[in-house]
């Protein structure tokens, strides 16, 4: 019970910090708009397979940029303060949940803007939205821990990309396949395998993050 309360307080703190500066959200939204618009200007018209792939690539880079900040925003002395009062598992869990909410908002905005600029070939919208939500979940759970690892090493942003690409590729492959099925309006049961494996990986990543974070949060 105390753990849940602690996590909830930390999530509230994340939102409050974001609300005060509005730095991450605004920056990332502009990033999304700019990228989608550049893609529009350079592609003009695209076929459905490229449409789907391009959407996920935009979302991938956006989320790496958004989540890379999650451990850099606050200064070291404030972390020193956290060490004394909170449980490390609560800290990482709060970051993951905050990033999950942030990613869901960004992914949804990205999808809306993307479909406005380009055409909209989605046939099964409910399942496509489910795919986008699962993408947000996967990116948030994977990149939060990677950004915690990268923040302990010195040259942050390059390392973040190097460490996160190999681990996100399997998820991205599953997401692209799942969302393509939804886009083509294929029978929903054909995506069951993908959904199952995605959920499985996310559960593993959650569990491993909670177990491993206590080892790296202090230097």
């Amino acid at each position: 019970m105390a753990f849940i309360k602690e996590t909830a307080t930390l999530i509230r703190k994340e939102f409050l910090m974001e609300w005060r500066s509005k730095y991450a959200l605004n920056g990332i939204l502009i990033y999304v708009f700019a990228t989608v618009f550049i893609c529009y200007l350079s592609f003009k018209k695209i076929d459905p397979i490229t449409w789907n792939a391009l959407f996920w690539i935009i979302l991938l880079f956006t989320s790496i940029n958004a989540i890379a900040k999650s451990f850099m925003q606050e200064n070291r002395s404030r972390y020193l303060y956290y060490y004394t009062i909170v449980n490390p598992a609560a800290l990482i869990l709060s970051k993951i949940i905050y990033n999950l909410i942030l990613m869901s908002i960004i992914a949804f905005v990205c999808l809306v803007f993307y479909t406005i600029v380009f055409n909209n070939p989605i046939q099964d919208l409910t399942y496509y939205l489910l795919a986008v939500a699962m993408g947000g979940l996967s990116f948030a759970s994977m990149f939060t821990m990677v950004s915690a690892i990268a923040s302990k090493a010195n040259n942050n942003s390059t390392l973040m990309a190097i460490l996160s690409f190999p681990v996100i590729v399997p998820l991205l492959m599953l997401l692209i396949k799942f969302s393509k099925n939804a886009m083509d309006g294929i029978d929903r049961a054909s995506s069951n395998n993908e959904i199952g494996v995605l959920l499985l990986i996310n559960i593993i990543v959650f569990a491993v993050s909670l177990l491993l974070f206590p080892y790296i949060w202090r230097d």
């Binding site: 090493a153 390392l159 460490l163 690409f165 494996v197 790296i216």
Partner: protein, 222 residues
């Protein structure tokens, strides 16, 4: 030389020599497309078995390091990753040669090939991470965390994803496994010893490299 503690090294050498001889001289079934290239199974497949075993070593010793803080465990973890990566490269090369003859192209966009290449990237990233940290203890701890974190992903990548899609490899996407249609009993008598032999050789090389690393560190300290 003490036979009691070194029997597994001798076994490894003998098994690999046996499989090398049998691989070149042994009788193999005549099959369409594969023809004589089927002999490559004694070299290509054991590489992957040995690589996975060494990556398991890497993950296990990373966990051990996190719980003990013993530098020796970190040395084993890093050398296991080194040797595993080397075996993976050998597996990729032998696989590409084989693919060139049977599938027509060295890189045929096969899901297992792609997965294996990405799996290698995980461990290359592991070494980049190690390279970016100067302090030995911090390097050991953070890279151990990354390797434990990435290990389940690699398992999914190598063992689950290729089974979800169609693959040119046998045993995937509804294709029957090797055992079912073209590996006869005589081949199996060479294949399994080859797998065990290469695993033992891989572990031996790892052990030697750990000793070398520790001696080098000792000399550098003095």
């Amino acid at each position: 030389m003490n036979i009691k503690s070194n029997w597994w090294k001798i076994t490894g050498v003998l098994l690999v020599l046996f499989s090398l001889y049998q691989g070149l001289m042994g009788r193999v079934p005549v099959l369409p497309i594969l023809h004589e290239t089927i002999r490559n199974i004694y070299y290509h497949v054991p590489m992957w078995f040995a690589m996975v075993v060494l990556f398991v070593f890497n993950a296990v010793y990373s966990i051990k390091y996190l719980s003990s803080g013993n530098e020796h465990h970190d040395n084993i973890a890093v050398e296991a990753a080194n040797v595993g990566l080397f075996l993976g490269v050998l597996g990729l090369i032998t696989g590409m040669l084989w693919a060139k003859f049977t599938w027509g192209e060295a890189w045929s966009n096969d899901p297992k090939q792609n997965s294996a290449a990405i799996g290698m990237l995980v461990y290359l990233a592991y070494f980049v991470l190690r390279g970016s940290l100067d302090e030995a203890q911090k390097r050991a701890k953070i890279s151990a965390v990354y390797s434990v974190f990435a290990f389940p992903v690699m398992i999914v990548l190598l063992f689950i994803l290729p089974r979800l899609t169609d693959s040119l490899h046998p045993g995937n996407g509804g294709n029957p496994g090797f055992n079912k249609y073209d590996m006869d009993n005589q081949m199996r008598m060479v294949f399994y010893p080859a797998v065990i032999g290469w695993i033992l050789i891989g572990v031996w090389v790892m052990q030697l490299r750990v000793r070398l690393l520790e001696i080098t560190n000792q000399i550098l300290e003095n």
